[in-house]
Symmetry: C2
Subunit: 216 residues, 2 copies
Amino acid sequence: MLARVSSTPTFKRLPRAVREQQMLDAAVKVFSRRGFHASSMDEIADDAGISKPMVYAYLGTKEELFVACLHREGTRMMEAIAGAAAPDLPADERLWRGLRAFFGFVGAHRDGWAVLYRQARGEQPFAAELATMRGRLVEVVAGMLDHALRAKGREVGATDLEVVAYALVGATESLADWLADHPEADPEKTATRMMNVAWLGADQLLRGITWHPPAG
Amino acid sequence: MLARVSSTPTFKRLPRAVREQQMLDAAVKVFSRRGFHASSMDEIADDAGISKPMVYAYLGTKEELFVACLHREGTRMMEAIAGAAAPDLPADERLWRGLRAFFGFVGAHRDGWAVLYRQARGEQPFAAELATMRGRLVEVVAGMLDHALRAKGREVGATDLEVVAYALVGATESLADWLADHPEADPEKTATRMMNVAWLGADQLLRGITWHPPAG
DNA sequence: GCGTAACCCTACGCACGAGTAGGTATGCTC
DNA sequence: GAGCATACCTACTCGTGCGTAGGGTTACGC
């Protein structure tokens, strides 16, 4: 009821843009650890060093806040990857640069990655949005493979291509998750390992070498 | 206060074992769609055609109920895989049978898979349990690769092996997720596609062919 | 130097959902 | 057929946490 005695305001007045980023930082941190539902707006506000109504004033409801986190981390990630993998390089070089950028991002933004990968997948309102982003990634990888294939005069069904791309993206995400849990691991080295699995396998496929189930 | 008039009891009295399975079925279904926190015990009880106190009496708290779901679906899956992949077969044959069993399971228990893969990962109390199960799978795959390698007189660092296994498991899970979202897709065919990516890649690695980052 | 807008707070209302109290009916055993 | 365990219910309590009402203080334009 009675506000703080007007002596020393222990808080600083900061411009909106700055506060918003602080709030998003806190939100990403809390969401990544607790998950969407188990996170409380109070804790997020607290962690951001601000009171709850400010969060509502700037970022809206809890759901909108989560979406804002998703957007920030997602576009950051996409930009990191897109900026690294120029489209006019050979496929293996593109893949390598893309992977390196990706693992670099995850290594540097483990919380952001956790929100995207571990939390958003299960919660219905966000899963669709996430799937779209992931779909774009899969498309890029599939396009890359398709491009490389055509250069060799070969062609593969669209579904086959999509599924292979899906598997590669999944393997990469899985390793990213491993990386997020192993702070001592080197992102660069992890990218190299991924390249070993992905490229050596993809290379075989590009040469038209395929595996078939045994008879019976 | 006043209970139902004792005329026609619309419900059937069933033995505990049966009701428990019905409850678990309902719980898996609801948890897989809504996630742990967004699911209510009322909805689960309702879906099982029973009242809430019965759920508490048989399966305990919400958390214990979720763990029970995890256990049932997890062991079902593990058994399906273990039963298919006999340990004294050649590596490619084992991998193929394991994959086929796995995708078969996911195709037949999409809800169960969703609980395991999408929901349990983010929620702290369960993530550890899940990681253990997943770890066992990774170990099996790593052991398989190691076995195949030794047969060729080759050897690879333990971390390298683990990471490759991790990538393969991740790729497989990712395809399983794709399968769960594509009811028209054929589990057998998906397994074949996975085999193409996994085995052709792994085969190269087993031959000692590795990829190295370009200079610069 | 005064209005007005931007920043920021404390302290609630209110709904939703986990878990329980307390009681009824049915079948099984002896 | 009396006793007892099991199966099952309706109707609560109570904590937790989202979102807001209502109000105070600093800066900035004019």
